[in-house]
Symmetry: C3
Subunit: 509 residues, 3 copies
C-alpha cells in the first residue's frame, strides 16, 4: 500500500504534463550496465533501487555538462565520448580504470572491481577529488597509524590488557579489532587477497577476497593505492547530495566524546532550526541558496557547500578540503593549533622531536602550521558565510569568544599536563623518559581525557554555540573536575608507593 507515493506521482504527472508537455524520455543505460542489472536487480535489489533513485541513473554526463556552471554537479570540463552519452550505471564505475585496479576480475565477461576508488570518481569529479587530496581526512589512515605517538595511543586504547601478579601488560590489537575500531572511521588498508570460489544464488563463482573489507573510512587505502572513499559521505548507491548535506552523515564519525561536533550542532540554535524546519528545505538544490533552500546552516553549509544568496552572490565556493574555512584545528590533540600546512601530518616534528604539532607544554611547531595570514584568510572565508544571516557585530562577537576559548582551554590542558609531568618527576608514573607509553597508566588516561574529551567538547561548543557541551556535558565542569581528581590521584599514588615501600621494609626487617 503506497497510496501517498502513488498519489504524488499521478498528480505530479498530470501537473507536469500540463505545464511542460510530456516528461523526458527514459535515460540511456549502457549495454554493460544493463547486463549487470539483469542479475543484480534480483540478487542485490536494494542497491539497484538506490541507484535508480540517484541522479547517476537519470542524467548523462553530456546533459550535466550543458547546465550553467553553478548548477553543475560534474566538475570535469569534458567527459570522453564513450562515457558521456549514457547515464552512470554499475559498469561505468565498477569497470573504470580496470588496469589500475589490482582487484579487477572477470565477472560474466566484464573486468570488474568491487572497490571503487576516488580514481574512478575522478573521471567526472576531478575538482572534488583533487580538493579531497588536500583534506587531512584523506590521510587519516597514516596520520593515525604511521605516527608513533598516535599509534601507541591506538594500541593502548584498543589493545587487550592482561593481569598477572598484580601488574597489567597490553597486547597489541589484532587486525580485525583495528578495522572495527579506529580504522572504521580513519580507513583500513584494503588488501586484495586473490579470488576464491563461492556458491552464490547464480551458481559457483570466483569472487575476490579482501583484508580490511568492508570499509568506508575517510582515509581508506584502496587496492589501487589511492586514499579515501567517496562513499564515506555519499552513501551508496544513491550518492545523494542531500544525504551528504544533512548532519547525520558527519555524525557517523563526529559524534563521540572525542569529537562531539554533531551533538553540539544539534543543541545549537542552528541545529534546532534544522531539526524543526528541515522538511521544508531543499537539500538537492545546486547551488544552495540561503534563505530559499535552507534557513539555518548544516555542517556542509559551513564547511563544504557552494552557497549563494537569492540574488546570486556567492557566499562560499564549494570545497572538499573542508579545513580551508577554519583557522584552528580544535580536536584530536592536547592543544588546539593552527591547521597543519600539509594533510600528511606524519611529517610534523615539535621542538622536542616528537611528531606532534605542539610540545607537551603547548608550544606550536609553527613551521608545519599555517601562518597568521592564512589563518585570517580562512577566518574571513567562514565569516562571509555567517554574513548570509548575521551582522558583523554579531559575527565578530561570536569569534572573539571562540578564540578566547581556544586560549583558555589550552591553558587548562597545560595545567593537566603539569600534574602529569609532576607524577613523572615523582616516579609515580612512567612516561616517554622511561621508555614507557604516554597512554597506558590510569593517570595518563585521565590526562588524555582532559584534552581529548573535555577540551574538544568545550571547543566545539564554543565554535558552534552548543551551550552545555561547554559546561556540564563533557565541558569545563569535567575539565576542572578531572584536574582536581588528577591532583588527588597523584597523592593516592604517592601514599600507595609509600605503603608499598613500608611493606617491603617491614618484610626486610
Amino acid at each position: 500500500m503506497q497510496f501517498r507515493r502513488m498519489f504524488y506521482l499521478s498528480a505530479a504527472a498530470v501537473v507536469f504534463a500540463a505545464m511542460f508537455g510530456a516528461p523526458a524520455l527514459a535515460a540511456s543505460v549502457s549495454k554493460a550496465t544493463q547486463s549487470c542489472l539483469a542479475c543484480h536487480r534480483s540478487v542485490t535489489p536494494g542497491i539497484v533501487a538506490d541507484w535508480e533513485a540517484s541522479r547517476h541513473s537519470q542524467v548523462t554526463p553530456a546533459e550535466g555538462l550543458k547546465k550553467p556552471q553553478r548548477e553543475r554537479r560534474i566538475s570535469a570540463s569534458e567527459v570522453g565520448d564513450e562515457l558521456s552519452g549514457n547515464v552512470i550505471g554499475c559498469a561505468e564505475c565498477h569497470t573504470a580504470n580496470a588496469d589500475a585496479h589490482p582487484d579487477s576480475f572477470t565477472h560474466n565477461g566484464f573486468k570488474v572491481h568491487s572497490v571503487v576508488s576516488p580514481q574512478d570518481c575522478q573521471v567526472c569529479h576531478p575538482v572534488e577529488v583533487d580538493q579531497y587530496g588536500k583534506n587531512i581526512m584523506s590521510h587519516a589512515y597514516a596520520n593515525l597509524n604511521k605516527n608513533p605517538v598516535y599509534h601507541n595511543m591506538v594500541n593502548m586504547s584498543i589493545g587487550t590488557q592482561k593481569y598477572s601478579n598484580g601488574e597489567l601488560s597490553v597486547e597489541d590489537p589484532n587486525e580485525l579489532t583495528e578495522s572495527d575500531a579506529c580504522n572504521y572511521c580513519h580507513g583500513t588498508v584494503v588488501k586484495f587477497q586473490g579470488l576464491e570460489e563461492r556458491k552464490t544464488a547464480m551458481g559457483t563463482m570466483k569472487l575476490p577476497k579482501y583484508e580490511g573489507w568492508p570499509n568506508q573510512g575517510v582515509g581508506r587505502i584502496n587496492p589501487d593505492g589511492t586514499k579515501g572513499s567517496c562513499t564515506s559521505c555519499h552513501a551508496r548507491h544513491e550518492f545523494s547530495i542531500a544525504v551528504a548535506r544533512k548532519p547525520y552523515t558527519c555524525g557517523e564519525c563526529h559524534k563521540g566524546p572525542d569529537v562531539p561536533a554533531y551533538k553540539v550542532y544539534m543543541v545549537s540554535k542552528h541545529g534546532n532550526i534544522f531539526s524543526s524546519q528541515k522538511e521544508k528545505w531543499d537539500f538537492d538544490a545546486v547551488p544552495w541558496v540561503v534563505g530559499e533552500d535552507f534557513t539555518a546552516p548544516t555542517c556542509a553549509e559551513c564547511h563544504a557547500s557552494l552557497v549563494v544568496t537569492p540574488g546570486g552572490q556567492v557566499l562560499s565556493e564549494r570545497t572538499h578540503q573542508f579545513n580551508d574555512r577554519s583557522k584552528w584545528r580544535i580536536f584530536g590533540l592536547p592543544y588546539a593549533h593552527p591547521h597543519p600546512i600539509s594533510p600528511d601530518t606524519t611529517k610534523i616534528k615539535n621542538q622536542n622531536g616528537l611528531p606532534l604539532p605542539a610540545t607537551l607544554d603547548g608550544k606550536f611547531a609553527s613551521e608545519y602550521l599555517i601562518n597568521e595570514k592564512e589563518q585570517e584568510k580562512r577566518r574571513q572565508t567562514m565569516k562571509k558565510i555567517c554574513s548570509g544571516c548575521h551582522s558583523e557585530t554579531w559575527i565578530d562577537g561570536h569569534f572573539e569568544r571562540f578564540d578566547n576559548t581556544v586560549r583558555v582551554m589550552n591553558d587548562k590542558t597545560l595545567t593537566a599536563t603539569s600534574i602529569l609531568l609532576d607524577a613523572y618527576d615523582k616516579k609515580l608514573a612512567k612516561g616517554l623518559a622511561d621508555n614507557d607509553s604516554l597512554f597506558n597508566e590510569a593517570i595518563e588516561k585521565k590526562w588524555a581525557e582532559s584534552w581529548l574529551f573535555f577540551g574538544n567538547s568545550t571547543r566545539f561548543s564554543s565554535a558552534m554555540a552548543g551551550a552545555d557541551y561547554g559546561v556540564f556535558a563533557n565541558g569545563r565542569w569535567w575539565m576542572n573536575k578531572n584536574i582536581a581528581e588528577m591532583e588527588d590521584y597523584i597523592d593516592f599514588l604517592q601514599a600507595t608507593k609509600d605503603a608499598k615501600e613500608g611493606r617491603e621494609e617491614d618484610e626486610k626487617d
Copy 2:
C-alpha cells in the same frame, strides 16, 4: 489552520474518485464500541483520535482475511463471526475474554477490563503472541527479579544507601521505585486491588485500582497471568506498524549505556540513511519491500519484519521472537554467549552453580545455550537479510569482525574479573565467598561497568557498525581505562587497609 492536511485530503479525494470511483463506505463499528465512544470521545479524546487513525478502526477482520497471505496483518486463519464483521474498537479488546480477567468490572453495562493482555490480542494475532512467548523479553520480569544474582544487582543499583559510622548499608528499593526503574522496561506485576469510588467528569464511578500500574514493560505480568504487553512497541491506540518499525520504539529501552543499540544504530551508515531518507519510505507496507519501501534497515527489518524483494522473494519471515536471527546474546551479562535455549533464564546454572550463562571466568553453561548448529542457522537467517543490498564478501567480512569482537571483549572482561578476584583474595573487597553482594562495593561497580557498559557498547558497535561506540563513546577506550583504574584501585584499597591497620596498631600501643 490545517491547510496542508485539508489540501491533501481534498486533492486526494478528487484524484481517488477519478481513478477508483467513490471511496469505500464508512466502516462498521459495533454497538458496544459506539457506546464507549459516546463518552470517551469527550473524556479521553486523544486516544479516540488515535484509534480513529488506526487500521483497527478501518478494516474488519473479515476484510483482513480476504487479503493475500503475505499482505495480511492478521495471523488467525479465522475469526469468530461475532467479531469478524465489525472493526476492532474499544469494546472488542476491552471486553474480550472477560471471565479470564480478574480485573473485569461493570462499566455502563459492559464487563470491561483496563489491562488488555496478549490473550486478548491473540484472538486475531495468535502467531505473533505465540512467537513472543518464545521471546526472552516476555520473561523479562522473572529473568531479572527471580534470579538471585540479578535481583541482588537490582537492589544494590536502585536501593538506598545509608551512611553511618563511616560505613554504607543498602536498603532494598520500595515497590514504587522498582516500578519506576528496572521494571519500567522489564515489566511490573500488575495486581488488581479491587474497585474504588472516584469522582469523574461523568459522575461518581467505581473504578479499578492496581499496583504496578501504569506499565508497558515487555515482560509485564498481567492480572490474567499472561506475560508481556503488546503496547510496549505498538503504542496505543493507533497500534501502528509504522511506529514499531522505526527505531524510536526500540530506543525507548535500548538506548542507555547498558544497551546502546539505538545510539549505535543512529551513527551507523544505516541509521544515517534512515534519518536522511525516512520521509520517502513507506513504513506501513506489508510485506516490506527492500529498495522500494525502504532503502536501509531499521531495528525491525533485521530483527522482526517480513521482508521481501521487489520480485517477491522472501528475505525474512516475520518473527516476534526477535533473537531467532541472532547467534550471540551480547548484552546484560559479563560474557557474550550463545542465546539461551529457553526464554526463561532463571533455570540456567553455570558450572559453579550460579544462575548465570557463564562462570565468572567465562566458561559457558553450554547445555542451557543454543548449540553450534542453531547458532549457524540464526547467523544464516540474518545474512540473508543483508543480502538484499550487500555481496557475500561484504557480509562475511562484517561478521568475521563481529565474532572477533565477541571473543576479544570476553577476554577483556576476563582481565577485569581477574582484578576483582584478586581484590577478593587480598581481602580488599567482599564477594560471594564472604556471603556478600557482588555489586555493593565501588570496585565491584567498576567491574560491572566493564561488561555492562563498555563490553556491551563495543559489541553493539561491532554488530551494527557504530564506529565510536566501540572506541571513545563507552567502547574500548573506556574498557581499557576502567581496567587500568581497577588495578590502581586495589592498590589504593591496599594502602588504605595498611594505613587503617597502622592506625589501629598505633592505638594499641
Copy 3:
C-alpha cells in the same frame, strides 16, 4: 531544482482558487520596513527570507485582532493605529520604544536598536511578557550570578586552575568565558559600548558595539534593563510557534546531564510517538487540539500551550510562566523542593542563612516556597492535561511514583551529603566552615554530581517516564556508584593524609 515545492504551490493555488476564490492581496508593508528590506534583502538575505516565511510578514495586528479569542496569537486587546494596519516588519520591532533603548542609533535615517527586548514584543504580546516576568527563567542571570553560593560554583566550574607546588588554585573565568559557558543559556548582561566605524558591503558605517553579545539566553539583561530574550525559544526571524512547540527548542538548554529533560522525553513513549508521527501533526494550529493536531505531548503541550479537546473544552490555558503547572522544582539544587514563590531566588535564605531553598541536610526554606495548596493546584493543572488521553487511575499511578522518586532521591542526596560532611569533620576536605569553596575539591565535585547529574536525571526520568535515565543512563546506578566511591574516597584521603603526616614525621626525625 525545487520541483516538490513548485508542485505544491501550483497545485495548491489551483485548489485554493477553486475553493476560496482568488488568494488574499499582498500584505501591507510599512514604508520604514520597505526601506530596511531594500538593503537587507541582499545584505542579510537569510533573515529576510525567514521573516517572509513568518506570520509577522503576513498578518497585520488589525487582522489578528479580528480572530476569535482562542485563535489569536496577539494578546493585546488593541494595538495603536500607527502599527495595526501594517504587517510586523523590521522597523516595527527595531525602532519600537526608541527612546527607551540606550543602544538606539541613527541608521539610514531611522533610530534603530539591534537588541530587541521583551519591552518591544510587549506592544502586541503583553500577556506573554507579563507571564514570562513571573517565570524563574527571566531571572536566570541574577539567580546564578548574584547568589554567592551559585556564583562560587560557577567560578569553580569554569574558572582556570593553576598547579603549583602540588597544589591547585582557581582563577575566576573571564567575561568571554562566562558568556560562552553558563551565561550562554542563563543570559548575559548586554552592555552597549558606543558606536564604532565599520566597513560594510554598503560602505563605512557607524554601528553599535556591545559586551555580552551575541546572546539569546532566557535571562538576558538587555541594554534597556529588561530581562529575557523572546528569541530564546521563538527563533529569529520566523518567530515560529511550530519551532517553539517542538522539543528541539527546549533541548538547546535542557539536554545536558544537569537537566536531561530533552533526552528523557525522547526515550519516553511520548517522545517516541512524537519522533515517529510528527510529520502528520499541525504545529501551527491555535488553539492546539489534542488528538487532531497532535497525538502525544511535547514539552510545550505540558508546560506552556493552550490545549483544547476537539469538542472545544480547554485542557490548559496558555502560560509563559511554565512552572505554574509543576509542583516540584526538580533540578539545579541538592534537594528537589516546592517551587519558589518569587522568580527572584536570590532572596531565599535557608535555616543556616545560606541562599538556598533547603539546608545541606535537606530541610526546606518553606517560607520562600509555594505552600501545599498551591502545590496541589499546580498538580491538578498538569493532571488535567494528561486527562486528554489517560484515565485517572493511570495518571494517579504515574504521579504517585514521581512523588516517591522525589522523596527517595532526596534521601540519597542526604546520604551523599553525610559523607561529604564526614570528610569535613575529619579534616579531609575544606568547606564553608573553613571559609573554603563547596565546589573546588574533587570530593566536593563528586558530591555535586550526585544531585546535579544523578538526582536530576532520575527525577526527570520519573516525571516523564524516561526509563533508563533513572537507572543506567545517569540514574540510580550512578547515584549509588558515586556514593560507594565517595565512601572509598574519604578512606583514600585519610590514607594519604596519614602517609603525608608519616613522611613529615620521618623528616623531623
